[in-house]
Assembly symmetry: C2
């Protein structure tokens, strides 16, 4: 799965090419950043996504700059980053972050097959809230005409992970400076019902028991 383009060169010990590690990062995060070239200028656009096996799907309006550029089959980079903590060293130089990131390279192509498109849209909705698809109104023909779905095979990719305490220069450990990790967690707050929701509408389990696969859950 690794190629020279996805080989982690800086601090290679942080690199991982294990598919399970990569997919766990993709499944836990909610937003990816899609990089593409448009008239000579790189653009990086945040968007939601879904994964089915070894394929990543993104979607949007056929009128969007991003999707119009991508459906022409241009090279793309999709990056997903989870921030796990701040790494506070004794020296400014060794400050860092604990994170898990996945970088996917490839060429996105439009999904033309209706069955694959439906599967992709379900994957995108259920990626955001597992179990949601089965409880909502599915897309109409008109809505499907207004939705472009792109597929990116997960076959040229790498993950990069930093964990653990700061690593200082040996002579700096004697400095009277607090050092360690300040962990971050993403939590959900209480759901806010739509003001137009009739009173008494039960909050479904997929909302009350919401949790990301990696562990981020209710506060």
């Amino acid at each position: 799965m690794s190629t020279p383009r996805t080989t982690v060169r800086r601090l290679p010990a942080r690199g991982s090419y294990d598919t399970a590690v990569l997919k766990a990062i993709l499944d836990e995060a909610l937003v990816c950043h899609v990089g593409f070239l448009h008239e000579g200028q790189p653009f990086v656009i945040p968007t939601s996504y879904g994964r089915v096996g070894d394929v990543l799907y993104v979607h949007g309006s056929p009128a969007s700059r991003m999707l119009r550029a991508l459906k022409d089959g241009v090279p793309v980079c999709v990056t997903v980053t989870l921030l796990d903590g701040l790494v506070l060293a004794r020296s400014a130089f060794h400050h860092s972050m604990n994170y898990r990131s996945a970088v996917l390279l490839g060429t996105a192509v439009e999904v033309a097959d209706p069955a694959e498109r439906d599967l992709a849209l379900k994957a995108i909705v259920d990626h955001i809230v597992p179990g949601r698809w089965d409880s909502v109104r599915w897309p109409s023909e008109k809505e499907l005409r207004g939705t472009l779905v792109l597929r990116l095979p997960i076959d040229e990719a790498s993950a990069k992970i930093r964990t653990g305490p700061p690593v200082d220069d040996e002579e700096d450990y004697a400095l009277p400076v607090w050092a360690g990790v300040l962990p971050f967690r993403t939590v959900t707050a209480a759901p806010i019902a739509d003001p137009r929701l009739p009173g008494g509408t039960p909050v479904p389990d997929h909302v009350t028991a919401y949790a990301r696969p990696g562990g981020a859950g209710a506060d």
Copy 2:
């Protein structure tokens, strides 16, 4: 500050070109995603950053693929995204996220002036943990030779913001589907002292009272 390239075209009501809004997003977030072209392939790399007035700074090793590409003065896109919540509509089609994002375009250049470089490094460390710079060992000459700092003027940029409840098609409001927003918050957990820290080293206020400017703070 807006140009045709940074004008928000999809759902323009979500676009903002207010400098204060843009800077607030940059100041609250911790990670930016830098997009650049390298041998015909777009790359999107997560990294930390700092802001001083109307300039964004990123730094890293002179050996990194990203910084080597950028110091040659190639066009770059820096995107920062804050995820505020999941927007659960009655229809699959109207599912969305509440978010605040900033997109900066431009050409990054290497900071050659030592005074500006020092200011930039302070800004990057203090962006991660406000007040940290003054309590740590500052970079040595050798470390400075191993650090490349790039500046990107914040002059071609836009912010995009979505807030509030889902917006469903009128006929869907009668559906017996729970709809609303599931808010996300990023919180810090208890700091984890470096195992090599001498017992009794006090935890400084900039760690115990840590909070992002936008409000993310201790759990």
